[in-house]
Symmetry: C2
Subunit: 336 residues, 2 copies
């Protein structure tokens, strides 16, 4: 909305221009009654708010923040490419904060960002985050806010995610169809939403095949040597698995390392599939079958949603929870 | 230096406390004459400036920025780990800006950061940056500033780098000793300092063996398909190389892809070595020999240097240019 129109509205209503402007932006400083009066007249006179101009006036920093657990992972790098393509179009800078999977760092960053340093924030929560008070405080401060991938499922803020449960069910199904009878799931520890969904997909597929009693879940973590030790024990046990489903790429790398050391042939003795967005897995010995997440699209969608909020556009219910499917890329490591 | 001491100095010199404080911090606002008087008395009375307290008073944001070209690369991810370990100890937040190898974005970010949003900045310049005016303007603004890896060699700011020329010479030497007679160098385009140094190391090793006339430099870029096309033509030419030295990991991945497609055996027909900090290259078919850069150490050193400047400690000449050696990790792809 240009200044002339704001002026006209203000004069007609006998209000200050800034009051009209804030009423149209749904500011908490303006009473509901005044907002209703302003909006009614705006509608009557056929004013079209110009969200871009409006955003320009409100914007303090022309910067959005992305808070992610780590960057040694192609998934988050691809997410960032999606985010930056949208932000650049909007003329925004993007800054990245790393939590290193540490709840305290995450809280510190969120507290820091409440001072108006950025116009909006996207977050994928750390795997040690088990309460969301710092996020709720952030929302209360009225700063635009979107979850992606690792979401706070019970929170109001929009959530952009992939179909972890369905994709994990399909991956397990793929191993079963390739002939596996005993599939181990290398799980992330912690209470992450994605971790729980991936595990549930694995369990669902086993149940479908009547193999519910053969669940074999091994919790792995950030330490390579500890993971390799667990995988070695698993493969040298008297009932070793004939299939491994790794919840993250790192655990598949650890599995390959152990198999190379123990001379266990993939896929003949053991089939392996993993979540991974790294192109170079096609060069592994043997090439690794993967579940590929729509990282670029998720980043783009999360940024689109965030800018809608920044520009005070209203979100449809369907825009508050967007699920973009992952796909399975079959390679030699699961050949039957 | 605590307040009592500042007060005492100020009284003795008949100056304001803030003037004394700024003189001790070498502020541009204070005349050289006054600085000399203040420092002389401070020394005479045996005052030890406390850099930590001093930094706390000056600090506006408790934040440093790291400007890097991209994050789809383990090298920069490991750099960040080194930086963050130091910053966390100092109680600082770190924010990351990506230039996507785009000079204009880099300039935009530097201009944005001149407004005091951060207490200091580390940068690895983009490969399209061919003038350094935006960096000089930043330095003039008096904000602490350090280069790492991709440096502005002619600039005053401290530079933390690795021994690209020497490491490249050793890598080429390694290929020659493994029996290669004709080695192609897959080079980054552009005027990057690291690109020039890597190429010079390759040339130096060939010259040492009297093979100067056999230089074979192929410029590759960000597009996989275009790189594969160039490598395919190279390997299908009537004088194909028997060794490839890739300046970055991406070009080695492209080389492997072409070799797999053309069924060219590595290392029997072609030996390959590459700069890479990715652990998973050990799982490649065959495992890839690499030049490993001291990324974590470079990040740590760059952050240490930046905090010295932020804390107004003076740098020794040797601290203004720090070179940390890379090392060669031999694997099956270069076996003789």
């Amino acid at each position: 909305m240009d200044n002339v129109n704001l002026k006209k509205l203000a004069k007609e209503l006998n209000l200050a221009i800034s009051t009209v402007s804030r009423a149209l932006r749904d500011s908490h400083e303006i009473s509901q009654e005044t907002k209703d009066r302003v909006k009614a007249l705006a509608e009557k006179l056929g004013f079209q708010p110009n969200p871009h101009a409006s955003s320009l006036r409100q914007s303090k920093s022309k910067t959005i923040a992305v808070v992610i657990p780590e960057i040694q992972n192609n998934f988050f790098a691809q997410i960032m490419n999606g985010v930056e393509d949208v932000a650049q179009q909007k003329g925004y800078h993007v800054l990245i904060y790393l939590t290193h999977e540490d709840y305290k760092r995450e809280k510190g960053i969120l507290d820091l960002l409440r001072n108006g340093r950025v116009d909006g924030l996207m977050i994928s929560v750390s795997n040690t985050t088990d309460n969301f008070e710092h996020l709720q405080a952030y929302c209360k401060a009225g700063i635009p806010f979107v979850f992606f991938d690792r979401v706070g499922e019970l929170m109001e803020a929009p959530q952009i995610m992939t179909d972890d449960a369905e994709a994990s069910c399909k991956a397990t199904d793929h191993l079963l169809k390739a002939g596996c009878k005993r599939i181990a799931f290398l799980s992330l520890s912690g209470n992450l939403s994605i971790s729980i969904r991936r595990q549930s997909g694995y369990k669902k597929a086993l149940a479908k095949y009547g193999l519910g009693q053969h669940e074999l879940i091994v919790e792995c973590g950030p330490e390579d040597e500890s993971n390799r030790q667990k995988i070695r024990e698993l493969l040298e046990s008297n009932k070793p698995p004939d299939g491994i489903f790794a919840a993250i790429e790192k655990f598949a790398v650890n599995t390959y390392e152990v198999c190379h050391a123990l001379k266990i042939k993939i896929p003949e003795k053991l089939k392996v599939i993993s979540y991974s967005n790294m192109a170079a897995v096609a060069l592994f010995d043997p090439p690794l079958s993967t579940i590929v997440q729509p990282a670029y699209e998720m980043g783009k969608q999360a940024a689109d949603t965030l800018f809608k909020i920044i520009e005070k556009k209203s979100l449809l219910p369907a825009e508050k929870k967007i699920v973009i499917p992952s796909c399975i890329k079959e390679r030699r490591s699961t050949r039957g």
